[in-house]
Amino acid sequence: MIQTAKDMKTYRKKIKAALKNKFLRKALDNFASSYKASRAKAFEGMDLSALKGEIAQGKDQALTVLEDLYLRFKTGAEASGAVVHLAKTAEEANEIIARIARDNKVTSIVKSKSMTAEETHLNDHLEARGFQVTETDLGEWIIQLRHEGPSHMVMPAIHLSRGQVGTLFSDVTKTPVDLEDIDRMVKVARKELRPAFLSADMGISGANMAIAETGTLGIISNEGNARLTTTLPRVHVALVGLDKLVPDLAAALRILRVLPRNATGQALTSYVTWITGAVECGASATGKKILHIVFLDNSRLELARDPVFSEALRCIRCGACSNVCPVYGKVGGHTLGHVYIGAIGLILTYFYHGKDNARAIVKNCLNCQACKSVCPVNIDLPFLIKQVYRRILADEGSKPVKNTILSAVMKNRRLFHTLLRTASALQGPLVKKEAGVLRHLPFVFGKAHDFRTLPALAEKPFRDQWPEIRPRIQNPRFRVALFGGCVVDFVSPEQALALARLLAPHRVQMEYPPGQSCCGLPAMMMAEEETAAEVAVQNLEALEPWRYDYILVLCASCGSHMKEGYSRLLAGKPELAEKLRSLQDKLMDFSSFMVKVLKVRPEDFIQNQRRVAYHSPCHLCRGLGVTQEPRELLRTAGLDYAPCKDEDICCGFGGSYSLEFPEISAEILGQKLDHVEATGADVLVTDCPGCVLQLRGGMNKRKGRVQVRHIAEIVAENLKAP
């Protein structure tokens, strides 16, 4: 039985247990690496982003006419001898299927893989009514024998080792099975499951696509069990989510082009089966297959009308959002999901399985955007995850105290900054001066947080230093404003100072508009959307984008939030649209500005060829889509850039995430630092102060020899004296 933690305390326990599972981590880790390579290969030479756009658009269109598509499908399929049902709820779907079984005097049932049947807990329902149900997909059979739910939508048993499977099979068959020999195990399944196929009265399948135009089901499989399930028994029941309806074959073929490629890196699965109506069947008295197609609503129609969440129904269940999720990679699907797992699972659980099952898991997202970038139908998964969290807070009517405090403080910039200054003054005795870190963690943190040192607040924030040091440039080439963000301003002003040093020789007049505040992303992360919107307006007013040629950011997270998040937050304020567009057009990350605008040259820098590794911040490479410029800048600035494994995988910071889930954050960070150390670099460079904080804290804690620096600092260090 699937048991999902309903509160944070239970969830933390579950996470700790999952993190102890070394096999799981290794298996998922290997998978993540090989998946990346095989996916890239599978899409070689294809215009993936165009295809994604087309599918997403097609799906969105279909979602507006789902009921129509259903009726068209029903007409087509019934004309070909099928019976089509629509079940409002999971319970109703299960009952319809049980009734079909009873009416046809069925005793044994074979099933091929169906996430929709997992969603309705169909097996439990049928077994409780005396039917014998055998899962025939190898992975599903394994987890059925173990009484577990799937831990991945495409590879349900990915959490198990060959040894575990071998032991299970020898128990089931009462014959010893070689615990190393996977081929043999597969043959055991082939042999054991054959009789089930041959004797079954009913086959239950899912479907990947339901084509309204012709009433045709499209079923994708690799093993061939879906073909046997739909052919041998006299009755076939297909359980299909309403979201699987597509208007025509063209739409189905588009999905077919991306689904296997994105799921497993296969150009196509071994089998694709297209079933239209009731075909010939020698086992049935009439000579025709008894075919029932049960469509499941279970809130889909409501979801399809939801202005925010409808895009979740574009999902084609490729499982990719798990494959690339750093959290999934550490804890696996049984910990990151309910029935549906991974990013999409965090969202769908709320709608299909209720807020109790969603409450704790929905928080377990770093907002690293990896899932979003790999989703073949462009679902903004991290955004929707936060929106689910927001719904749950609203449903429960009581907010965590920290949300209330955060909102109150953040809406009032002066108060916020006064608090930070006070904290800076009070932290004195806690600070190890020379290292700029806190000697002890403040008492509110438990032991789990001790995986990194925390930086001290700067003695003097950048905003207070700036008026004294602001250079005045005669006839500037460019006027730029720096948007600092909280970390640069109050923790790491040296990063902004480095920027100022770099800009001066290029005759760039830099300004630091004092009215700027936090970018608001932390509020978004805590689902405090109103606060985030207020802060966005404050910043927009403070930055006065029309005064500048560029607005620079040293923090990728602030940058991508302003570029993308602000559009959503301010969508209801048309009077700000022009200002916002101006801000977004002028916004640029540090490296892009150096490379593309200032066009810095190697002769400007000391070519000392210091060996540096690079961490690519989530919000830079995926959020702002900047990948080449930082690497180019490092080379231009006379540094020896040493590529590192998984540069673009999250460092595990995620802002407040690392406070909520310190164990996972530590694990992700640890792996990142291992990769960095393996490059032999002296310095690890990145372009987000949040990442610097996390990476440096972790490096300090492990007493590693690699320095961690913001890219602006390391580049400024190599600048030749004028």
Partner: protein, 183 residues
Amino acid sequence: MEQTELMDRMKEKAGLVQALVSTVTGMEEVLGRTVGITLGQGGKTIVAPGLDPENLQRLEDLCRAAGLTVLYPPFRPHLSAIHTALTPADWAIAETGTLVLDSDSEDLRIATMLSETHVAWIPVSRIVPDTAALSARLIEKMKSGPGYLAFITGPSRTADIERVLAIGVHGPQELHILMMEEP
């Protein structure tokens, strides 16, 4: 695309997914190969739905000489007894190395699903570059009443245990594709 190019692509792409592809000239060779493959695997039986009576007789003669048995429809009584299934394919899609089989006939389905080895011949003129090239025909087929259409790309496979690829979990363990040029 030129026919030879299509054949090369088909061979390459189907080969990547463990299908065994070769070129043959005429039905004579198709039948001979099928018997040879079956003998080589120690199989005892062959089914051949979709063969015309004349070629079926030739297969029967070859099998008799080789000590093999041809099983005749309906195949339901032989569900566990089929070693080799010899079937035509209606189309082949070079882009993915896929065979397309109109599988309305239950005997054809049983043959291609429950055999240990599936041998399919495809006239080279019926290899198309991609699925789009077939879509009008597929729609026509789907609109023409009850139907079961199969895309087959390599033999049955799974990677459900530790993601290790294993061939032949539920369907045929070998898929031979004979691209047939007319003599």
